[in-house]
């Protein structure tokens, strides 16, 4: 008995050490990102040492004052506007599509689901060029509206997770609502929606975050219209060869600022996020 206890104690000690080492490995780059954002020395690299010797707030203030080349506050606002609008549209699209495929029975259901499956397998970037020209056809190229449309337009294809969730809601609820005289629309709004908070949260979260982290779609659609850049495009520009010396520390400050809201959202909704993904999978 004693040797068993000793062994499990040793095993736990080993795990503690492993976890500590791993945690440090995962936190270090982020800590260093924050450190760099407060660094006083300019340039991408320090000359032969690692911990900065001068500290400053200037990298942050500069983002909001020196806006002639990189208009960070404007980009932040752009991204926020695009994220909020596309998140709203996309969430409705996903809700409707998932509900129709999960709960309603109609002639085109199977064919449509199959088409969605096939379309989803093309690499997303492949269609960007065509989208650009299509949007140009309507005179919307290089606008924020175009970005919103592109982020939310095809959202219906991402219905799998929410459909998986709807599938688990007992059909008896729908049937009794029907007997009580609810139309199908009322069943959707009064029965299904209130039960779906975790998966709606998950969808809102993922669609809201997408514009903050997307680079390719935005880069093709915006080309060089600096004023309508999103955060990701702008930050990437800061690291181009001619800018990186002056802007590297500001990039880090900008990155920290962009991470804070996303990190906050993520922490708050962490539980829903996991439930959203695993909800369908676990039940098989």
């Amino acid at each position: 008995m004693n040797s068993m206890k000793l062994r499990s104690l040793l095993a736990n000690a080993g795990i503690y050490i492993a976890l500590a080492v791993l945690s440090i490995l995962w936190l270090l780059p982020i800590v260093y990102l924050v450190i760099t954002s407060f660094r006083g020395e300019p340039g991408a690299w320090l000359d032969g040492y690692i911990i900065p010797r001068e500290w400053t707030f200037e990298n942050y203030t500069r983002l909001f004052t020196d806006t002639s080349l990189f208009n960070y506050p404007r980009w932040f606002l752009n991204t926020l506007v695009v994220a909020v609008s596309s998140c709203a549209i996309a969430t409705f699209f996903v809700l409707f599509t998932s509900y129709a495929f999960s709960r309603l029975r109609f002639k085109m259901r199977r064919p449509m689901m199959n088409i969605a499956l096939v379309l989803g397998m093309f690499p997303g970037f492949m269609s960007v060029i065509a989208i650009y020209h299509l949007i140009k056809l309507f005179g919307l190229d290089q606008t924020l509206l175009a970005l919103v449309l592109v982020y939310s337009g095809g959202a219906g294809l991402g219905y799998y997770i929410m459909k998986g969730f709807f599938d688990t809601i007992p059909t008896e609820l729908d049937e009794s609502a029907h007997l009580d005289g609810c139309t199908k629309w009322q069943t959707f709004t009064r029965i299904t929606l209130p039960l779906s908070r975790p998966v709606i949260t998950y969808t809102v979260l993922t669609t809201f975050i997408a514009p903050w982290v997307d680079f390719i779609l935005a880069s093709v659609i915006m080309k060089d219209n600096y004023n309508n850049f999103t955060i990701a495009l702008g930050l990437f520009r800061m690291l181009e060869r001619e800018n990186v010396f002056r802007w590297w520390t500001a990039f880090c400050a900008g990155a920290v600022l962009v991470s804070i809201p996303i990190a906050g959202l993520f922490m708050v909704m962490q539980k829903n996020y996991v439930e959203g993904i695993t909800g369908g999978a676990v039940k098989g």
Binding site: G153, T183, V213, A255, Q270, A281
Partner: protein, 463 residues
């Protein structure tokens, strides 16, 4: 199975009703085949009939005024090249615009789609006319417009719900994909760029170029395909395996501060991926802090020397996989945690009584259980990694470049190659071919996945 049979019946009835409408229908129904909504108007469904008619008129007007000028050149993609003539007054050359192949192709696809949508509405008008006719014949009144509207929230609520999402998918996913597929059969490369030059149909030429193994292009393709698959396998399975081990360690009985450990990893997720990747690129650079550290007197004394993390072909490949682990493991940890706790505890109990150690338990219980439950997730991850643009683009940009390759580098995946071929080179035809092949790859994976999960469900070994 039951569902399949149920669905077959109405479809048959449906196609029959269209033929019936045209053979057995009354003259108003038959006239509807020419004038949309005519039958509905005659049978008292005025608003509905007018809507059908309006759709038909708008479709035809749109096609004639906008679509036709492009569709008529669809077969050739334009014949008049841009020319330059001397201005008679100022004696300077000015450009006379010719046909724009890109516009012809894109707008033709658009016009065809418009026509197809109009045709679908038109067919439904014929069916509606026939339905109204049969109702009247059996002594009933066809539904009025108000009833139609009410049905849109009840019996036909799927139409209401799906119309906008389907429109969105058609415009922003389906049409562009069709357009890009068509490009694969043209010679739209850097030498044939509209509006200056025309491009035209070349059949399977691009596919034979890409798949012939003796050319530079075919050679590049095969190597990049190989690396893409290697990358996807390593990125997916290493992430999965290590993520699960981290989850197991955190969730092990007797380990304290579980939420603290979890938070340490979750913080890494919360920082946007492109930020982490760009930052890592800087950290791993030749002059970056890691190499500075390796060059310090202390590390040198230990025998370390600087490493070209991103510039040496072999090391760069390892680097991108390792950095991707850094990004991916927290996700897997989060997702597997919940599932791991669902494994029936008595399985482990029984294994312990039989004398199985922790490694054996992991191999015989945890891993098979997890693989069975998370197979769909694993496959989505695999397909996602085949298309993992960010991890490569932000870290190495596909580099280090290789002279043996057709404008690609040693860490380029098919998607990043596709990106540089379009954005920096303008070889759209080749990019389309790559896109189609990537699609076939993903589709094959999806098919395998479907079969695996189907069989896993059938067995239900763990339930």
């Amino acid at each position: 199975m039951a569902e399949k049979q149920k669905q077959k019946k109405p479809r048959e009835r449906d196609s029959v009703s269209l033929i019936h409408a045209l053979t057995r229908g009354s003259w108003p129904t038959k006239t509807t085949a020419l004038i949309s909504g005519f039958g509905c108007l005659i049978y008292g469904q005025f608003a509905r009939g007018l809507l059908y008619l309006a759709v038909q008129i708008l479709t035809l007007a749109g096609f004639i005024s906008f679509g036709w000028q492009y569709v008529r050149d669809f077969a050739t993609l334009g014949t008049r090249e841009m020319t330059s003539v001397l201005d008679p007054i100022y004696q300077i050359p000015i450009n006379v615009p010719g046909d724009n192949s890109l516009q012809i192709l894109l707008y033709s696809v658009f016009a065809f789609a418009l026509l197809a949508a109009g045709l679908a509405v038109h067919l439904s008008a014929v069916k509606a006319a026939y339905a109204a006719e049969t109702l009247i014949r059996s002594g009933k009144r066809p539904a009025g417009f108000r009833q139609d509207l009410r049905d849109l929230l009840d019996k036909n609520v799927h139409t209401t719900m799906l119309s906008l999402p389907v429109l969105g998918v058609a415009a922003f996913t389906a049409l562009p994909i069709i357009f890009m597929i068509l490009l694969a059969f043209t010679n739209f490369d850097r030498l044939h760029q509209p509006p200056g030059n025309l491009f035209t149909w070349v059949g399977m030429q691009n596919f034979t170029d890409m798949l012939s193994l003796n050319g530079v292009l075919g050679n590049t393709f095969i190597r990049i395909l190989g690396w893409t698959l290697i990358w996807a396998v390593f990125a997916t399975f290493l992430n999965y395996f290590f993520g699960m081990i981290v989850a197991l360690m955190i969730n092990k009985q007797g380990i304290r501060l579980k939420s603290l450990w979890r938070t340490c990893f979750v913080i890494a997720i919360a920082v946007p991926g492109f930020v982490t990747l760009l930052f890592m690129r800087q950290l791993l650079g030749d002059l970056g802090p890691i190499n500075t550290l390796l060059q310090s007197d202390f590390m040198r004394a230990l025998g370390f020397s600087p490493v070209q993390f991103l510039r040496d072909p072999g090391i760069a490949r390892v680097t991108v996989i390792v950095v991707n682990l850094w990004i991916g493991i927290p996700y897997t940890m989060l997702i597997t945690s919940g599932i791991l706790m669902n494994i029936p505890a008595d399985l482990f109990e029984a294994a312990r009584i039989d004398g199985a150690g922790p490694v054996r338990q992991f191999r015989s219980i945890t891993l098979p259980y997890m693989l069975a439950v998370t197979a769909p997730y694993l496959i989505t991850q695999f397909i996602g990694n085949i298309n993992n643009f960010n991890a490569i683009f932000f870290l190495t940009g596909g580099g280090p470049p290789s002279v043996d390759y057709y404008h690609a580098g040693k860490t380029d995946l098919l998607v990043t190659w596709l990106y540089s071929l379009t954005v920096t080179r303008g070889d759209y035809n080749l990019a389309s071919v790559i896109g189609i092949i990537t699609f076939l790859l993903s589709a094959a994976m999806g098919l395998i996945a479907f079969n695996i999960t189907a069989s896993a469900k059938k067995e239900e070994t763990f339930r």
